[in-house]
Amino acid sequence: MSLFDIWLGILKGVGTTAAVTAYGLLFAVPFALGFGVAQYLTVGVARLLVTAVIEFWRSSAVIILLFVFYYALPVFGISLSAWTVSAMVLGLNAGGYASQAVRAGLQALPSGQKEAGAALGLSRPAILFLIELPQALVAMSPTFVNTVIQLVKATALVSLVTLSDMTFRAKEIAQVEYNPVAIYTALLLAFFVVCYPIALAGRWLEARIAAPGSRAGGI
């Protein structure tokens, strides 16, 4: 097998990696926004519940979550495909992290913003959607970019639950070809060429936001 063949073999898995990432984002983004906002708005018992859900997804070891949901859900009579389990677990784990950025972004806004909205006679939801979230989302966009990177990297785990992503393909090749240096270097590089541009974009975004004179609406 030539180096080129190894590359080609690994790239066969890129579709799965991309699909799990995209599917995972479908869980991550709504969870982050919904629970981040909920944690910001709620108090007392409600807040405790919201926090418990976030902490469950965020503070658990993601590899164990994946196995638990993959092996244990059927025991409770719920069977989901490996795809759905992977996307859900990886997505909600990443979403748990991102929800903290959402909450922090909202909390960091000067309270004058909320008060100015109220003084204009806006309802609470209107203040949230028209004044607070647009500003907070800009501030937390670099964190969101990081979450995407974390998610892409976490998809390497799905090879452990039989999905044939890039990591799975690499291990497949490793079984027929004893050339670990080439195979795993290629695999590392494959992730690097995907994640590094995203990281650079995140840095650019961060610099834009930090730049003096940058406006929230300018991005």
């Binding site: 469950f56 070891a61 590899i63 638990v68 025991v75 670990p180 795993y184 994640c195």
Partner: protein, 219 residues
């Protein structure tokens, strides 16, 4: 066949017996990651070729999954005739991977020290060495204590990855039980809960530490 709480309970001692392994692996890896990360950051600060190489290494590590690093070391080292125990390889992998993150922690911890501090030290004629030992290092330590604690939790949550390399940690034990009894749900759930509890406990400790450092004002 539902979830059997009694069986789950019976799994606890076996799984918990590996908690020492888990904590040891996490502590040693955290120490290794901090050491390598510190060296990376120092090299980056020196600049020139070493600085660029180090900066690139940090970016590369952060753009690739920890699982692949573990595979890489596990399969590539023997290829070059280096035979190490799987726990050693696992610790090396976690140390290397998290060094990329800890380098950034050191960077932030040093950057947060106002420029006036080394200047005041120079105005007092302190040598460079004394400036580092008595002025920079103590302030850096205070700045990194909390983020370092948080990364310790991250590393702790990454230790079950080592089960993939057949290290008998808590997840490894859970799989041992599973393969003996053909019951996956109970041991995995137990392992997951233990990790969650550990993570929450240590995070809570870190938060208290952080609050104490902040409450001390500029102390």
């Amino acid at each position: 066949m539902g979830f059997d709480p009694a069986f789950a309970l019976s799994c606890v001692p076996t799984i918990l017996s590996a908690i020492g392994t888990t904590l040891l692996v996490a502590a040693v890896s955290c120490f290794g990651a901090a050491t390598i990360g510190f060296l990376f950051e120092m090299a980056r600060r020196i600049g020139g070729i070493a600085g660029m190489a180090s900066g690139f290494a940090i970016d590369f590590i952060r753009s690739t999954p920890v699982l692949i690093w573990l595979y890489f070391l596990y399969f590539v080292l023997p290829f070059y005739g280096i035979r190490l125990g799987s726990m050693t390889v696992g610790i090396m992998g976690l140390s290397l991977y998290y060094s990329g993150y800890l380098a950034e922690v050191f960077k932030a911890g040093i950057d947060a020290i106002p420029k006036g501090q080394p200047e005041a030290a120079r105005a007092l004629s302190l040598s460079r060495r004394d400036t580092v030992i008595y002025v920079i290092a103590p302030q850096m330590m205070r700045n990194i204590a909390a983020p370092l604690g948080n990364y310790f939790v991250s590393i702790l949550k990454a230790t079950p990855y080592l089960a993939v390399l057949a290290v008998p940690d808590m997840l490894g034990r859970a799989f041992d039980i599973a393969s003996e009894t053909y019951r996956y749900a109970e041991p995995l759930v137990v392992a997951g809960l233990i990790f969650l509890a550990l993570a929450l406990l240590i995070s809570y400790g870190v938060k208290r530490l952080e609050r104490r450092l902040l409450a001390g004002g500029t102390r």
